[in-house]
Structure formats: C-alpha cells, structure tokens
C-alpha cells in the first residue's frame, strides 16, 4: 500500500546510493533568470551540455518590469543589474539551445503559471526549478520541488538529483467553506495551524472532499504555499478535474493520451496507505485570513486582533520583533488598520480565477482614497489575454487599479514594483517576511477577494 508520494518516488529512482541517498530522475526542469546563471556557468566550465534538452523550459519572471507594453526593448530596463540577468538568460538559452518564452513572448510569465497552462506540467512527472514555489505543480499529482543553484547545475548536467526520501504527511480538508473563504484562506489557516516548520522533512498530500471540489487554479494556490508550511513538496491526487484541465493543453495522439491517462488514473494514495503524520481540518469553520506578522504562520481571522505578548512564551522575542516591525500594537483590531498599497499577483494568486474574483468585488466601485497604489499583475501573457477578452482589465482600470504586464513583481520587489518604508500592503503573494516587498515595507497576506475588499475600503471591512 503506497502513498501518492511513494508511487512518484519509486517510479523515478535511478539508483539507491546507500545510507538513504538516491539518484532520482527529473522529467521537467523550469528555469528563470535569477537562479540559473551560476548553474549554466558551472556546466560551461566543465564543458558539459544539458543532459536532455527537451526537459528544460525557461522564461524570465523575477526581474522583469511590469509596465512594458508591446515590443519592449531590453535596453530600456533602467536597472543595469536586472538587465544583465535577463540578457544572461537569453544568452544561455541561445548557447545551449534551451526553449525560452522570452520577455516579448505572449506566453512569457511566472514560471509556475506558464508551466501548467502550456501543458509542460503533467501528472506523474518529477519537476524541479530553482525556486521554492515549484511545489505549485504538485496540484497535478506531480512530484515537484524547489532546489538550489548547485542542484540546478546538477540537473542540467545529469538529469538527476541526489536526494533522500521525505516522510509522508496527509492533511485532510473536509467540509464546505463560507462564501468569502477561498483556497488562499484555507492554506493560510493550515500554515497558521501547523506552523512554518509543520511540514519540514515531509511531502504534504492535501486531500478530502474540500480538495476534490476545487478547481486546478485553487489547488495550485494550496500546493504553492506548502513550502510556507515547511514542506518543499505539496501534492494532490489526479482526478476528473485534473483530467479536464489538461484536455485542451496536452498535445498527444490518441493512443499516447489513452496510455498516459491510464497511468495518471493510478496517481492517488492507496486506501490503506500509511502516513507518518495525518491531520484533519474542517474548512467550514475557517474565516477569511489576514497575516499580521513577518512569518506566514503569524496569521489571524480577519475579524480578530494582534496577539498579546506573553513574556513567558517561547514566542515572545519573535512576536515582539514582528509587532514592532509591522508598526502594530498588541491587541489592536486588524480592522482598524489603514492600508495604502494593494498587490494582486504572484505565483500564488495571479491566475484567471483570481482576477475574476477581484473583478467581481470591484466592478463599478472605486479604490479607496487611502490607497496610493493598487497593482494587478497577471501571472502570464495568456492570463492577461484571457482577462482582457473578458473585459476584466476595463473593470480594474475604471476602479483605479494599475493593470500590468506579467512577472513576479511586488511579491519580492526585484523589479521597480516595491513598497516604500512604512507602506502597509494587502498582498495576494506568499511571504510577509521583513523587507520582502521592499525595505521596511509591511505585508499582510490575504486572498484576492480580501485584497479587492481592502482596496475598496482602505482597510479590512467589518461584517
């Protein structure tokens, strides 16, 4: 009896190297401009070529400006260092013949949005990328994880990773959520419940009737943030919803597709599979979530308060530092906070479903006067195109949002989209770390629906 993770693992072991180490085969390798240059340099110095070219797909996302328009010239990137990194990706892709959706491709976007929507992410695959949010692709019953640059080099050179097997952790999500609770609220609630190290050393499989009811977009949001619960691997079993998502994205002839489908249907945990850890959460009790601190586990219900400091708690110094950084007071009501920035985007929440959710909240309304900047950054060129086809861009612009070109943008502020010191931002991204969105910026992680409501009200709306 095997878990889904066991099945994927067993299927990809090339060699048992002893003392827990295994050589594991990698089917798909996504690359972006930030964590790849040193790896390409490494294989060049060894006179090696990528082991299997077809495994690799690259796109620039972290550094790219998001106000580019059409026929953007790389030369116009003001930040010289960012420019070099994007040019370097171009150069390496040309040199090694790696397919790339470059900055002017209509398919360019955040690598974790681009992969699934183009059928590069398939069930049963092992998928890696030099980016911790590679866990996103686990929504497709694929064993996917973030790796460091040395491992990027190793995968380019050998098509394998030398790794140890993780433990199995199942989180059963049961019941029907409130209308204002999205998959983002559910995963924030999970992180808050088990802590940012709750899944360390484990692959987390998310299951239960709640998961079965979710779209692929919502499932990707859940798996995307498994890393924020410490688990570099998040997984969801293959089912009819996965099949239907893939139907227009996979280009295989009938006999190959049938064979693939037969295999994909085996990609779930056996009914009596053993998990090292297992918990159950009733999602009907979850309220919309808002992070208050500088770690994703520092999250509360939207209608609650900043926690009280307890000198006897082992969290005292960590909480005290977080409350000070965030410019908060103990026991302060979250709904009393005034926001001046809103960011909708990132590999967590920049897909079409997220944008539709924002549009339905802000249609015929205006962004609050307290909000100095409200960005909507679609996850990819295709998401942007779809949103514009549906007229969502007009709704956003009329409401006072800035409608941008695809990229990671203010999730990590590597391009021009940054918070200024003291800014308080409602963000649909995944990390509220100190300085994450800009020096001394204050990030509150929320769902797209809550970000939209905060944009309109200037703060967290009361019931």
């Amino acid at each position: 009896m095997k878990t889904l993770y066991d099945k994927l693992w067993d299927d990809h072991v090339v060699e048992d190297l002893g003392s827990g180490d295994h050589l594991v085969y990698i089917d798909r390798h996504f690359l972006h401009e930030v964590t790849s240059p040193q790896a390409f340099d490494g294989i060049s110095k060894k006179n090696l070529k990528p082991w299997r070219l077809a495994a690799n797909i690259a796109t620039p996302d972290h550094n790219v400006p998001t106000a580019r328009g059409q026929n953007f010239e790389l030369e116009s990137i003001e930040d010289e260092v960012s420019k070099i990194q994007i040019i370097e990706l171009d150069r390496n892709c040309n040199k090694f013949d790696i397919p790339q959706f470059d900055i002017n491709s209509e398919k360019q976007g955040i690598v974790h949005v681009v992969g699934p929507e183009n059928g590069f992410t398939l069930p049963g695959m092992t998928i890696v990328c030099g980016d911790s949010h590679t866990s996103t692709h686990g929504a497709f019953a694929a064993l996917s994880m973030g790796i460091g640059t040395s491992e990027v080099e190793h995968v380019l050179a050998t098509q394998c990773l030398r790794i140890k097997k993780l433990k199995n952790f199942r989180i059963n999500l049961l019941g029907c959520p409130r209308d204002d609770v999205t998959s983002k609220d559910v995963i924030l609630y999970v992180i808050r419940s088990i802590g940012t190290d709750g899944g360390t050393g484990h692959a987390i499989e998310f299951s239960g009737d709640y998961i079965s009811s979710l779209s692929m977009e919502s499932r990707m949001t859940i798996c995307n943030m498994s890393i924020e619960a410490g688990a570099k691997v998040g997984l969801i079993a293959f089912d009819k919803i996965t099949e239907s998502y893939l139907s227009d994205k996979v280009q295989l002839d009938k006999s190959e597709y049938d064979k693939a489908l037969e295999y994909w249907k085996s990609l779930s945990s056996d009914s009596n599979a053993k998990f090292d850890k297992e918990i159950e959460i009733d999602v009907s009790k979850i309220k919309p979530q808002v992070s208050w601190g500088t770690s994703p586990e520092m999250t509360s219900d939207y209608d609650s308060c900043v926690p009280e400091l307890d000198q006897n708690s082992d969290k005292y110094s960590t909480y005290k530092k977080a409350i000070e950084y965030m410019g908060l007071k103990e026991r302060e009501k979250l709904s009393d906070l005034t926001f001046n920035k809103v960011f909708v985007g990132s590999c967590t929440n920049s897909r079409i479903e997220d944008l539709r959710s924002v549009a339905s909240e802000v249609k015929d309304k205006r962004v609050s006067e307290s909000i100095e900047e409200a960005l909507i950054v679609p996850g990819s060129g295709q998401v942007k195109l779809q949103a514009e086809k549906e007229g969502l861009d007009k709704i956003f612009i009329e409401a006072g949002f800035s409608w941008r070109d695809p990229g990671c943008s203010m999730c990590l502020g590597m391009n021009e989209d940054k918070l200024s010191p003291g800014d308080r931002c409602a963000s649909t991204s995944n990390r509220n770390f100190e300085g994450r969105q800009g020096h001394m910026g204050r990030t509150h992680l929320v769902s797209p629906m809550m970000a939209a409501r905060i944009a309109i009200h200037g703060g967290i709306p009361h019931e």
Partner: protein, 208 residues
C-alpha cells in the same frame, strides 16, 4: 570549499525563530550572476540602516551598531546559534553563499528549512540541528564564553569538559570535509541514467 575537520571560533547568538533566507540575503543581491562576494550583504536588512542596493559600496553605508555581527568580536563569527526553522522560505542558494563568504562555517539551530539545509552541504557550511535542551546548553555556554569548538570527526560540540553529540548524515558530512563534486560523482554512473531513460520511454512514451 574548505577542507576542515574541526571548527573553532567565535559564536554569536541570533535568538529568533524562523529566520528566513530573505533576511539572510535580501532579494536585491539575487541580481548578481556570480557565486561569490555576498559576505558583506549577509543579514543586510539588520546590519545596515539604509536600503539594500547592489551598486552601493559597503564603505559608504550606515552600519547598525546594535546588530551583533557589527560588534567586536562577533564581526569575526564563524558560528551562528539560532532558534528553530533557520533558512526557511526561498530556495536562494545565495543565502549559504553569504554565510560562507562572511566566514560562517556552521549554523547551530533547533531545525532548518529543507532546501537551505541541502544547499549548505554543497558549499561547505555545516548545519547542526540540536534538540531544545542541547541547544540551551550551547547558548548558555556561549553567553559566557564566545568561543566554541566543534569536532567533525567525533560529531560533537565541546563545552568545557562536556561533549554535546550531534547527528549529521556521514555521506553529507564527507561532502563538506572532502569538497567532492557531485556532478562528477553522478556522471561516473551515467550508464545507469541512460538505462533508466530507455526504460522510461518504453513505459511512458508520452514523455519526451
């Protein structure tokens, strides 16, 4: 890659849980396409008052003298002692490069982020995980006496007359001691990879 069997030096305590890799090295420095030269940016947001900018020379920046790594003798620390879940968050290997380039040879914590933990071994930095009791003993010792001695061969931390044992995978420790190149080792069994691949295409022809 240093070829050391022992680590001896100044240890500093950062008594905070969940120190993420964004704190160890802010995103700004990820714009570099090099693998070295990150030491002066280690814990940049805590070490300097001004905004991180890869083009600003460090000599012109305003140091935060309250931060321990800016104080003598901790500005020469070789060892960091911290709380749980050190190195969580982003997979950026730049975090380990920054620790290494600053001169940090080992980080002692209650636990580590998984990706960071793996990245350490690829760059000659030893992550040591200790349970709460042992960690407390080490912290108590370092509060009085800033130097610490760690024996890699015996896998223990020497405190006065006491030895605190730690566990670390021998194969991974060997990587730190010998500085072996993993790509070369893996390529020495490339026939195994090729045979896996031909079998894979037989069973999963839809994968190219």
């Amino acid at each position: 890659m240093s070829e050391f069997k022992n680590i001896s030096g100044i240890a500093c305590i950062l008594d905070i849980d969940n120190i993420d890799t964004d704190q160890i090295i802010p995103t700004e420095y990820l714009k570099s396409i090099k693998k070295f030269g990150f030491g002066e940016f280690l814990f940049d947001g805590w070490r300097y008052h001004d905004i991180a900018n890869i083009n600003t020379p460090t000599s012109s920046r305003s140091l935060n003298q309250d931060f321990i790594l800016n104080q003598v003798p901790f500005n020469e620390s070789k060892i960091i002692i911290t709380g749980k879940n050190f190195g969580c968050g982003s997979s950026r290997e730049h975090a380990v490069w920054a620790l290494r380039d600053f001169g940090i040879e080992t980080v002692i914590a209650e636990s580590f982020g998984d990706i960071f933990y793996n990245n350490c071994f690829k760059n000659g930095v030893l992550p040591i995980a200790l349970n709460q009791d042992k960690l407390l003993m080490v912290k108590d010792h370092v509060s009085n006496e800033s130097k610490l001695h760690i024996s890699l061969a015996d896998k223990n931390i020497v405190i006065k007359n006491e030895k605190i044992a730690f566990e670390v995978d021998s194969g991974m420790l060997d990587m730190i001691i010998t500085g072996q190149d993993e790509v070369d080792i893996t390529l020495s069994i490339s026939d195994k990879i090729k045979s896996y691949e031909s079998n894979r295409l037989k069973h999963k022809p839809w994968l190219n």
